[in-house]
Amino acid sequence: MCQTVDFTEAKAKHLAWKQTIRECLDGKTQMDPQKIVSHEHCDLGKWYYAEGKDLYGTLQPMHIFEIKHIKLHKIIKDVCMFKDMGDEEMAEELYEDLCATSDKIVQLLTQAEQLINN
């Protein structure tokens, strides 16, 4: 059961992040620059590198997750860069890419969770 809780929290933390980016694009909030640049310092990254990788890193979905998560943070950084540059169109285009990668990450976490629980 503990493992299920891990993944549920991980997905919730990730989805909260996506919402934060949306609010940032809408001008409703500012983001912590440290969290923007690092895939290791966001809540999901902290969870993964503190315990997730040791526990589940050998699972194929988690291996792909790590690659997608690093990419996600690169896109987040660029969304913010274009937003700061005033290029709303490019920021929104990249936000679409961010959402697609985010969906993939949730899918991979779910696959890993199912592998562990079955």
């Binding site: 792909i64 690659i67 997608k68 990419k71 690169k74 896109i75 660029d78 860069m81 490019m90 285009e93 990249l94 679409e96 890419d97 697609a100 990668t101 993939k104």
Partner: protein, 174 residues
């Protein structure tokens, strides 16, 4: 290029892909891939870890004349965003045509920091009527006498229309 990379055998068939997909990539000043979007992964057939760190020409189709990429990079180096129609090579060996928009981000010293390209599908009629015949002539000139020859052919073609490549592309897509 990664020494483990094996260029696919070209299959002269169009790739079946979801034409509503937007394909995005980010490269550095040397054309090395920093990241690609999920659409790029799905259409090209390569995984992220096969693409990141590789030169973007990993997906260049051999039917593409080099002169088009020279014109592209000449513009990007000047800080000018660009558009091009490009035939790409998927991992399966099949081809897919795209209309690509390139946005350049410059460093403070005016050199290229990153290039973002967004690609969408392009109508077969445009390819068959305008692009394939032009690129075939350019490629033929290039194979016989090098890129200087294909540059001359391209310039003559565009001068006859009194258009730049960018204007030509925008015109046939309008």
């Amino acid at each position: 290029m990664n020494s483990n990379f094996v260029r696919p055998v070209v299959i002269d068939e169009p790739l079946a892909w979801d034409k509503s997909t937007t394909i995005t990539s980010k490269t550095d000043a040397f054309g090395t891939i920093d990241y690609v979007n999920e659409g790029f992964v799905e259409v090209s057939g390569y995984q992220d870890n096969e693409l990141v760190g590789q030169p973007h020409n990993i997906i260049r189709h051999p039917d593409m004349p080099k002169i088009i990429f020279k014109v592209l990079w000449d513009n990007l180096k000047k800080g000018t965003n660009f558009k091009a129609i490009v035939k790409n090579l998927s991992k399966s060996g099949k081809y897919y045509w795209v209309f690509a928009t390139f946005r350049v981000v410059l460093k403070e010293n005016g050199t290229i920091d990153y290039v973002y390209s967004t690609r969408k599908s392009v109508d077969d009629l445009v390819i068959n009527t305008y692009i394939s015949p032009l690129y075939a002539i350019l490629l033929e000139a290039e194979k016989k006498e090098g890129i200087e020859a294909s540059e001359q052919v391209l310039n003559d073609f565009l001068n006859a229309k009194n258009q730049t490549y960018l204007e030509f592309i925008e015109n046939i897509l309008s």
